[in-house]
Point group: C2
């Protein structure tokens, strides 16, 4: 596996020719996906700038061109008409200017009349490698080309740690005001959100204050990727707390949670209506963000990185790493977020195959459970249990154990995770795509998302009579072409 | 002499009681001045926020309350009706807020209608002592109280070194535009000026670019305290270049120079009409600034710190240090700045004393020279030459040699300085005030300013027949009272 020097990781891309061969090598990887957005080359991480605009879904991802390594981050641009079929569109934001000399880091987008605007963190480092994060903006022109504003909207606040990033911009109609939420760390290393406001989208930004979330004053050391949505009058705050361990999350210090409640923009207080929940219970899920301009009261569209900071994945052998979830339709019911694949995912279904133990490397599985204890193992072969899924009915505990897979990775973080259901296990909708697994449990009240790298032999499954399966092989919906 | 820890130097002043005793000790110093603005306690350095407003001259100085030491800087406020009589008014700007936690550093002022606004550098340091300079503003209310804006106007640019400070704000009438000049250092350690502009005084500031001064691309490592004025259609740029030695300036790396020329705000180019000149040829002169709102075409008012960065002075034994020059009336003639004391200084004159060799510790001396070689020594006694002033007529060289004074200080920087006159030595107007010397030479075409600390015995002068003297003892015009 290639080792990178810092200089190599932060190299500026001068010409597509520099990574054309890398793309070809990446595309030959047996783990290359077929209906998930994945890096055109190298590494992808957070989703960015997810916006519905002029009948098109625009999505960007944090991208390091050079290989399976975090380094100089670009925004790579993909679009879709239906949230299922995605096209590579080329580089969105390129770093290397004054305020983003060491990366265009994560952020969000918003459409305003005929224009699409993107808000990102300009990652500046000086010669001593001291970081200064700027909140920057860019406008997309009618040809899809992005034009960065010459100056940032604002710099970091000195009364918080250097960790101030991931601007989420929203428009508050009643107040006729724009707000930016910035993920931040206080000087005493507590995670929080800084709120800025402006009457204008591209100027006049003023610091409003720190978001108050009663009960969450000391909840992790940094809240990355804060995002807020309103569904049927309820506010939903999602964020990715770091530097803390949380229950049932093994040794991981990277999480993604949501709170439902009420956001008061006068007092800058988000009052939760209940406890936090994991946005996903899987091994690899982080930096989720809601799409902007969906304009629906009853659902939001969310996407996430299937991966975690500080973790690495076996596809690094093939010089690439990272993928997005499929976009998820999110609704609110009884205080829980329910996540569903987009309806259009059904268009990818081929004819169901006989349920005789063969597991296609790209498929959707509908699983109906009778509520009894059950074992349901994926990616098995004659010598291995593969991914063990066990349901313990008396405690309503669903267990995912990846420790029996042939390719093991991030073992020090966790290999076994439990979900404590509030009710019986009823159903799962499972999406497998070469090296990713997404499970929607009990109509999407819980989801479990992970990278898994089955070797060639791990192509079976084992189930008992407590589950009834339908297995649909899936068509491709994401081309793996080299557009730069 | 008291040694200060960093913590002591950067201590926030909580109550006047903490420095009342210090003031009393300072006020008993035999070097305490009588017609110069000096620190109410502790240390003063740069003049700041010099503005004429509502028939009053407002001046502030960089002030560390605790003793003869640079540390947490305040702006201390003094006012005058005539540029000669000054009253202590109390603290102007207090540091310790978010953006100026380690000091309200230098800056300028401007009056707009009925309001006075001050622009300063918020000196922020984080827990690792890494500095971030902010350009901040404050408004003076009708009671003379200053109200700092909650947010800075702008932060530092990452494509320049951390040395970005000393905002000089001006209003450009033809363009109906405000400009701020910021003294700066490039990443490759060259001194320069950054220019910002805004239609509004307190918001909307945008970076315009770096000031171009043809021929001065590599002139010192930092240009502190840039300031610009226009006299009769000619622009005058003054600044204090650091980190370089200049001709006839010994080992000093702190200077104060001026250029005359034309400032083009479209191209951000100052085109000099001739070589630079020293703003003053003395041992101790730095950070000069022009007063704002003088509204004269033919003269400006300038004031300066009698002192240099990195230098220390014998009054430190008495726990204080620093003083201002008398304000100077500046006009332009044949490409030279001419400096004169304000006409009102004559009000301080007592009856002239007989010119018999006695030198009052507070006096004005008019000296007329015949143009021949001459020796004219001040602060002499029977055992010492005091300050030797020698004029060498064939080379038009005027030499000041302080190495014979009893109290020597900053010897490593320089003790002997020459001024090469462009013509014969004709006259001097000399102001002595306990521990300061200001000499206006040849109608103020050259000035020589220094701190000198004559001991009690050094109260004579020696002159020959090539000079004709008139000596006026002077009345006090600056009270040394404790106003906080």
């Amino acid at each position: 596996m290639k080792e990178f020097t810092q200089e190599e990781r932060y190299r500026v891309l001068k010409s597509p020719d520099e990574i054309k061969d890398l793309h070809q090598r990446n595309a030959q990887s047996i783990y290359r996906q077929t209906y998930h957005v994945q890096p055109v080359t190298g590494l992808s991480s957070d989703p960015n700038g997810f916006v519905y605009h002029n009948n098109l879904w625009h999505l960007f991802y944090q991208w390091t061109p050079w290989g399976a390594v975090h380094g100089l981050k670009y925004w790579y641009h993909v679009t879709s008409k239906d949230l299922v079929h995605w096209s590579n569109r080329g580089i969105g934001l390129s770093p290397g200017d004054t305020f983003d000399n060491k990366g265009c880091h994560s952020g969000s987008g918003i459409a305003l009349k005929n224009d699409l605007y993107l808000f990102y963190t300009g990652n500046h480092r000086d010669e001593k490698w001291i970081r200064t994060p700027y909140t920057c903006a860019a406008r997309m022109d009618e040809n899809g080309k992005l034009h960065k504003l010459k100056e940032p909207l604002f710099g970091p606040r000195p009364d918080y740690a250097e960790h101030q990033r991931d601007p989420k911009v929203i428009y508050h109609k009643q107040k006729d005001m724009y707000y930016i939420f910035i993920g931040a760390m206080t000087l005493d290393k507590r995670g929080t959100v800084l709120i800025y406001q402006s009457k204008d989208l591209l100027s006049g930004w003023q610091f409003s204050g720190e978001l108050k979330v009663p009960g969450y004053e000391n909840f992790g050391g940094m809240w990355e990727c804060p995002c807020i949505e309103n569904l049927n009058g309820q506010d939903i705050l999602i964020f990715s707390p770091q530097y803390t361990k949380l229950p049932e999350r093994g040794n991981s210090t990277n999480h993604n949670v949501y709170l439902t409640g009420q956001m008061d923009y006068e007092t800058l207080t988000f009052t939760p209506s209940g406890p936090y929940h994991y946005l996903d219970y899987g091994f690899d899920f982080y930096a989720a963000q809601f799409a902007a301009n969906v304009n629906s009261n009853d659902h939001a569209i969310m996407i996430s990185w299937i991966g975690l900071p500080d973790n690495h994945y076996p596809s690094a052998e093939d010089e690439w790493e990272g993928t997005m979830t499929i976009p998820r339709v999110v609704s609110l019911k009884d205080g829980y977020l329910y996540q569903q694949p987009p309806e259009e995912m059904k268009l990818l279904r081929k004819e169901p195959i006989p349920t005789e133990g063969h597991l296609p490397d790209t498929c959707e599985i509908e699983a109906l459970f009778d509520g009894e204890d059950t074992d349901f193992n994926l990616f098995t072969n004659q010598n291995s249990h593969g991914l063990k899924i066990h349901y313990q009915s008396d405690t309503h505990t669903l267990t995912f154990d990846k420790s029996h897979m042939k390719l093991r990775f991030n073992q020090q973080v966790f290999e076994i995770l439990n979900i404590k259901l509030a009710e019986d296990l009823k159903n799962m909708q499972i999406f497998i795509d070469k090296c990713s697994l997404e499970v929607f449990i009990n109509d999407g009240k819980y989801t479990f998302t992970a990278r898994l790298f089955p070797v060639k032999e791990e192509h079976n499954y084992v189930s008992d009579h407590h589950v009834k399966l339908t297995i649909y092989p899936l068509k491709e919906s994401v081309q793996d072409n080299f557009i730069l």
